[in-house]
Structures are given as C-alpha cells and as structure tokens.
Amino acid sequence: MKNREIAVIGGGPAGLTAALYASRMGAEVTLLERHSIAGGQLVKQTHKFFGSQKQYAATRGIDIPQYLLEEIERQGVEILLDANVLGYYTEDGVLGYEKDKKFHVLKPERIIVGTGATENVLPFANNDLPGIYGAGAVQTLMNEYGIVPGNKALMVGAGNIGLIISYQLMQAGVEVKEIIVRGPIIRGYGVHASKVRRMGVPINTCCTVKSAHGNTCLEKVTTINLTENREPIPGTEREVDVDLLCISTGLSPLTELLWQAGCQMEYVAELGGHVPLRDKNMRTSQESIFVAGDASGIEEASMAMVEGMLAGLCAARDFGYDDGMFNELHYDAIMQLNELRSGEDSEKIRKGLKECLVKEVIR
C-alpha cells in the first residue's frame, strides 16, 4: 500500500488549487480525478469568468486548468487520471479507487475532498425521453466533444448555468425557443440574462414543464404557468415544439465520501443540500479531512478556487510545511473569500455558511 501525505479528490477548480498550494508549501500530494482530463467543469466553461484577477477574471474557464496544471506538474504533484475514488475507510485511513479496471488503495494522512456537485432532476411525465438532458450533459456534448445535442431547444431554469448554456447552445447554432423558470425572478446574473434576451430569446418566469411528448425521442413539451407560490394554473398549458429539453434546476453538493468518512453533516438549503460542518480553514469534523468547492456548498468557481487554496495550505501546514509564505497566503485566501462573499448577491451564501461554519471543529 502506498502512503502519501495528502490526497486531493477531484481535479476541478477546488482540487487543482488545493493540490497547487499544498505542494507549494512542500507536501507530497496525489490528485485523483475520475475523468480522463483534469479541470472538472472548467473544461467545458467557454465563457469568461467573473471575479478579480486573482481568480482569473475575464479568462475563459476552459483556459484556466492549463495555468494551474503547468504549475502543479512543475511542483511534482502525482496526478492520477481516470481514477474513480470509491470509498474512504476511517478505521485504517485507506482510500480505495478504481483505475484501469483494478481496485487500488492509497493511505493518505490528509484528504481534501473537492468532488463538486450533481445536478438536480425535475419530475414530470416522460422525463426519460431521449432529447431531455441535464444542462451539464448538454455542455459536455457541445463544448467537450463538439456534438450539437439538438436543433430546437427549451431551457428550464434561469440560474447562471441555464442562462450560460442557452447562450452556448446559440453559439453552436441551436435555436433556443425560450427559457422558462419556476420562480417569479431570474436567479442568474442579469448580464447573462441580457445576453440571451438580446439574441431574441424570451425568458418566461412562473412557468414549468408539465409533460414531454414523443414516440422514440422528444418532439414536444407542454409547459404550464405557476402562481408566485408555485401552484400550477389550470388552462395555462402551452405546447412548445422542441427536440431538446435542457434541465438546469440547480446543483447539490456531491458528498458521499464525506458521509462515509463520518463527517458531521448539516442540511443547509442556501448551500444546495447536505454539507459538512467545517472551520474557517475548510477542515471538517474529521481532523484528517478537508473540503473545498461545491462539495462544501454550491457557489461560483472563483470561490471554489480560493477554498481549494485555503484547504491546500492548511492541510500542508498540519505537517509543519511552510515555504515562508504560509501566513501571507493564508491571510490572502481568507480575505479573498470575505471580499467575494461581501456583496448583496452573496447574502444567501453568508446565511448558509453561518449554519455550517464552526469556530472549533468538534472532534
């Protein structure tokens, strides 16, 4: 069995920065990524990022992994691709993963969980017809594999993901007929909404999918309007002819490993579901386990990168590592997070964090 100081699970924005800063401090790090390339959701995010220069603002998501990977590789981080972590066994501190159709084990002293999120589903009649996709799948097909997923699309959800993917569908030549959203307001950034509106796409609030129709694949969707309390209004059904229905109704933290490892979890609606209790350094109730990114609560990639930085720094510090910059970088990460979350837009996140952020993690 291989011993390792730090294992980072997940090679997305949080995991990449965690590996980067942990190794920069001097720790020996293995990064496990289940996909064949590192980058997580960044590999399909063709839009320019918000934030400040420190979080690669105005850089396209797809271009960010290469900057981080160059640095990570130079520092000698071991990167295991196509490595799917299956479990963490607290009794003996062993991490099991599958790679090349074999089961492998690794014994890390610290783990940073950056497993990201999973998409929420929407229940309606025939929601398993071919042509009905989660937004992530649409983005993967288009932006990773160059496959146009349909000709005429209806988008469900007007959060940032729904708005951005509607825009990207149009860039790929797909006609987006409309965007519908259950609630009375557009949750995503107004600027993203304006981008699709000026392309002539209507956004209909208080509207959802009632049912989907088609013989072998999607041909038509029936929508229905809702009251502000989300009650369906009979008689407001409309039929929309589309062969692509894209569901973008939010994300939930992907936390199976944290549950299995016995981390104390808390349901925090504002953060998207069950999340681990953590201290300000992203340490969970298990001393050896840190968390970063969407697995700790759904936010933007800029926050995930800074959380990864914080977890990486602090996990390495547990071994006494410090390249002389620890205090400065640690302070910088805390300040960046405070700053990113200080606005009106982050009110919900601040409220959610109060419920899972603990001063001293109970052991």
């Binding site: 839009h47 320019k48 990022f49 918000f50 934030g51 400040s52 220069q53 603002a57 105005a58 850089t59 396209r60 007007a158 149009m170 860039q171 009375p184 307001i185 557009i186 950034y189 107004g190 600027v191 993203h192 909404a193 304006s194 981008k195 699709v196 509106r197 000026r198 392309m199 002539g200 796409v201 956004i203 609030t205 800029s302 700053e339 990113l340 979350r341 200080s342 606005g343 009106e344 837009d345 982050s346």
Partner: protein
C-alpha cells in the same frame, strides 16, 4: 419590467448608466450596463484612464464619463458583455456603436447587418466599420457599427445576414 423579471433593464435602470448629454456630444464614451452587485472587476483592471472604478469588488462600477476617452479596451474584458462604447459625433445622422460579439461567422468590414435591440428586436440596418478580433479580445470580438442616430441607446446586438 425590470432586469430581474425579464432580463432586460428598465428605462429607470438604464437612466443610471447613460452618460451625460454634454459628454455624448463631445465624442466616444463608454456605457456600462451593469446593474447588479456581483463580485467582478475586470472593467476596472482594463481601464487605463481610471474612468471605471470598483472600490470594493462587489460594488457597481463607478464610471467617470469625463475621464473616458472611448478607447474600448474594457469591452471585451467584461465577462457579462455589458459594456458598449457610443460615439454620437460620428456623423450628422449616424452614431457609431461598439458591441461585444461572440458568434460565428463574424461579420466583415463593410457588411450590412441587422441592428437588434436589447430584446433582439429588429431596429434596422447597420454598417460594419471595424471588426477587432485579436489576442487581446480573446474571442470576444468588438464590432464597430454605424446606425441611425435614434438607435444609439437602443442597438445592443447585430444579426449577421447569411
């Protein structure tokens, strides 16, 4: 309808970002159509004139239209594609508008394209004067078009004719 309800800013919302008349009469000037406090500041970073400031990253950009020389370096750096440059002094009847554009095919200089408003509605014809699509723009081309003067605060998109 407001931005949060429809995705299109209302007249009231727009009135907070439209440059003063006397500046519009002098030459090219930026219009930053950013209405929500989101953590973002590449416009400030891009501006060499210090005409756009974002003191705290969550603040709305504070635009000093007097300091803006219309250089347009900010247009392609805004991740929200919310920045436009307007020159109402271009000619007696026409206004020059610079628009961020991320669709292929790009128009070519001299092309007649369709001018669209904030809802994608057709306003009329626009002539493409210039297409900037270099390394700096990083795949957010900046298209300079001329349109009838009435459309200066309406035109925000184009449709390239196939």
């Amino acid at each position: 309808m407001t931005l949060i309800k429809s995705g299109v800013p209302s007249r009231d919302e727009l009135s907070t970002v439209i440059p003063p008349r006397q500046k519009l009469e002098k030459g090219p000037v930026v219009v930053v159509e950013c209405f929500q406090e989101i953590p973002c500041n590449p416009c400030e970073t891009a501006c060499k004139q210090e005409a756009i400031r974002v003191p705290n990253i969550n603040d709305l950009p504070i635009v000093d239209h007097e300091l803006c020389n219309g250089c347009s370096l900010c247009i392609s750096k805004c991740p929200g594609l919310a920045i436009f440059v307007i020159d109402e002094t271009y000619s007696p009847n026409e206004v020059l508008v610079k628009i961020p554009y991320e669709f292929l095919p790009l128009p070519e200089e001299g092309d007649i394209v369709t001018a669209l408003d904030r809802e994608g509605k057709v306003l009329g014809d626009a002539r493409v004067l210039k297409v900037q699509d270099g390394k700096y723009q990083d795949r957010t081309a900046v298209i300079s078009i001329t349109v009838a003067k009435d459309f200066s605060m309406e035109v925000r998109n184009i449709k390239v004719r196939g």
